[in-house]
Symmetry: D2
């Protein structure tokens, strides 16, 4: 397929490379220059403007947040102004449910198609083409994107025609991850203060009931008390919890653990934790218990 | 080994049978008669009194709660009064940290040995000899119990000389399970109210990030909204959260998620949920969101 | 003074009447017609458009929410477009801190002055000219508004030059009121379930430690379980807690009770409580305790 | 009346003095010697043993906690063993609901009468005879105590025949006070971080909506950030919240604010706050917001 790719950050660079590897014709764009070079060497064309990346059958966006997506989509000569009739905007960023709804409406009005397809996985997983993808949108549009999704992920879950549902599911997944971090943080503060070795405790948990890799990953960071460098930075985790709560506001769903997580992230950030991994909230229970200083 | 076994409930019956199967000489006791029969057919001796089960090298207790354990241990002609010098009380029940400390002191005073070895696993796992066991106590005593632990579990984690640490770790494990239930309950209330199919959502979660079987087990119950018959009844879950919080009180560790879980269990029980599975708390978020009635 | 008054709802009507009574020359405007009539009889002039109310030394706005304020201020021929140089916009609505900041900037840019002066008090208090007013803005502007503020309130607290601080203080006051409601709701659920008479209990509280009238007012509603008609409707209470949390987000202040209140309001609204008084959240503890059905 | 008085601490000394002043014949007892001297000078008799204080129509107990009360009541030659038939134990300490129930049962069994009459007020209020008293027990017994209650308090609220209800009401009152502290702590953290002067803010609150003296008292301590010396020490506040939650457990009433307060006290105590006033929890929000260090 002939496609554009906007957003060549840690995630996007690997995803675009996989599209190239699968034989697609890819025109890449990034706001700051330089990131496109490696991809051009792999066969990509470099776009000087957003509009240049919107000349194919589809354009993928993989950006940091709502503001960045709004910037390239609604701005002068943005995606909506540039994409051809029936062409598809495949939005893979983690954005708010509300923005996803706006995008769906705006593209429909412009005679274009919109698919939301946020992903689970860190940069290394993206580079390996092993992302899990949650896709939603008009069935014909989702189907049309299949060759792209297959090139970037190990599995795609299609969850219906309402695009924004995919974004909600993505946010809920990050909420669940953060709740695992909080649970582990409290449990480790408890057993740690009683003198149980944290690493041995984690080994026990992860080889019995909590075998999912996320327990090993985040439990390890908490046991170690080491939150730098950040794999996924605290401000991003905070953003996702806020977006989760914003969706819960609209849907009128009280989520007390999400509320607690919001307070945890606020605490972490208020105390200088901007650069820490989001699992730094997992040390706040131990801090409150007087065992450790604030997370570093 | 020549051992006694006190407590032939859903868990204990299978555990005692595995001791017999491994060739140990087992004298079994249960407060209410009849439960010993099947085991006697498998070669066990039946004890008419607690004291009769305390004549060997060790006696295992596997009882419902603190009160039941106190009843057989401290009562007239109880375990402490009957066990020989250097003989071992292997306490496998889920009991409070405080009681475990009392037991350790009382046995030490009586010249006996005490090992706390609570387990993770449901009755079918106990019957299959596949329990995970967390053991703590004097190293020589834990070592002496190895043949018994190996017969009952697939793996034993020895976590030190302080017996009560094993009980704390066990309680923390149930706290983590309950926090998984709460997290899933909130996430499902959120996506469910947006119209996402709960079963499809769970399939997505459990085949991607949350592969631990507990997510499938409890997520399935919540997606189905079916909490009867109880695999692990709500009052027992409540008891374990209370014991977790009691330990947190003593250690001075604030645990906000545990506090929330306590309130969830109180709500469930206050509304007639005595007979439900403890994962019934996972429906309270959806109830608060106006999607469902109270859990049934 | 020659002033305009925009927003003749339950609160605004009484406030404008007090300005007239104090001898000010008042031009009133309301989006829906008819509400101006009674005031015209008292000597007011009726404005057909927002701009007509912006021809004096100052214009007061007393509107329902951010959206309404944005509508009259920024819209075509709105307050900013119509107010003369150095004229003052006296904003008395309960609005967000962020909007207050925007207004201050926009008026400054237009060469106008801005004073935020939200109020405490219900409609009967407004009608009696007994409001408590929290004012902030450039000292000269606040001073210039004194004759107006004195006509509408029993006391004005000037809290500095940053206009938005007044809005923050107002929101924090509503947060404190809601936290009183929640506290009373939990305490009454507790003693009520033990058989203590709720009215007798409230009498005891309010004649000893909790003599502030708000305890009597809200305690009475909760003891009675009667939340209609609404004095201050649940959606407005919810809005103010959300605005409080939005300010807390910007300032990075974790507020766990505010988070709980947000969840309480979501629960109330999710279960059909739109028309209830905001103190309806005070019945949720009793509902969770199985004593009463949902608030009505 | 001829009465005994057990417990001559900060509160009890003043209460016993008021009994003497009202003309009652009082025999006083305190575990540690010396505290009885001043009272003896005022006309009291000193008892060498608990039993000596139990020879009259009634004996008042005013002790620190459950353990202390159990010690004098159930111990060898304790109150139950010493009090005459139909004589009254007037229990004025802040104790658990469960202990109050036990005391009522034990006295009934011994042919004695029991009245629970905990108080609201600090030592200076006790000395002035201005306590608020919450009394419950058999009507004849409460009536018989009237001359004593009138001597010690400014007002007695009789709330029925179930003695433990009085203890529950007392605990709920302390819960409400602690929730005021928490609310003020969060509000002050919010406005304080925005630069509003805390003292000015408190002045505004307490002269408008929150006129009850408790707002002034605790708000002042929080605004000042000064928690020593303690008027009511943090461990006592923690104890009362725990007793409140214990009662809530028995009654099955979820109380999320009480749960939060428990975590706040645990945090305060875990960080060395043993000697602080209980209002020290009101600084934890500001600490989490990065404004101040831990409470001192």
């Amino acid at each position: 397929m002939k496609v554009g790719f906007i957003g060549l950050g840690h995630m996007g660079a690997g995803m675009a490379a996989n599209l190239l590897r699968a034989g697609h014709q890819v025109t890449v764009y990034n706001r700051t220059l330089g990131k496109e070079r490696a991809l051009v060497e792999q066969g990509a064309r470099a776009a000087g403007r957003v509009a240049d990346a919107c000349q194919g059958e589809a354009v993928v966006t993989m950006l940091a947040d709502d503001r960045a997506v709004e910037g390239v989509v609604f701005g002068d000569q943005g995606v909506i102004g540039s994409l051809g009739p029936r062409a598809i905007h495949l939005s893979m960023s983690t954005i708010s449910v509300a923005l996803s709804e706006s995008l769906a409406r705006a593209h429909a009005k412009a005679g274009q198609r919109f698919v939301a397809a946020p992903v689970f996985g860190r940069p290394d997983v993206a580079a390996a083409g092993k992302l899990f993808i949650v896709a939603a949108g008009a069935p014909d549009a989702v189907t049309a994107c299949s060759p792209l999704l297959e090139a970037m992920g190990q599995k795609t879950f299609s969850i219906g025609a309402e695009a924004q549902a995919a974004n909600l599911v993505k946010l809920s997944g990050n909420f669940l991850l953060a709740s695992v971090i909080e649970g582990l943080g409290e449990a480790m503060a408890l057993v740690g203060k009683a003198g149980v070795d944290r690493h041995q405790y984690l080994e026990l948990l992860t080889s019995t009931l909590f075998t999912a890799p996320v327990y090993k990953t985040y439990g390890g960071l908490i046991a170690e008390g080491k939150f730098e460098p950040a794999g996924f930075a605290a401000p991003l985790g905070y953003k996702d919890i806020r977006l989760t709560l914003a969706a819960a506001d609209s849907l009128r769903v009280p989520m007390p653990v999400a509320s607690l997580l919001r307070d945890r992230f606020l605490t972490l950030l208020a105390q200088g934790g901007e650069a820490l991994d989001w699992s730094g909230i997992g040390q706040l229970a131990a801090r409150d218990a007087g065992q450790v200083d604030r997370p570093r």
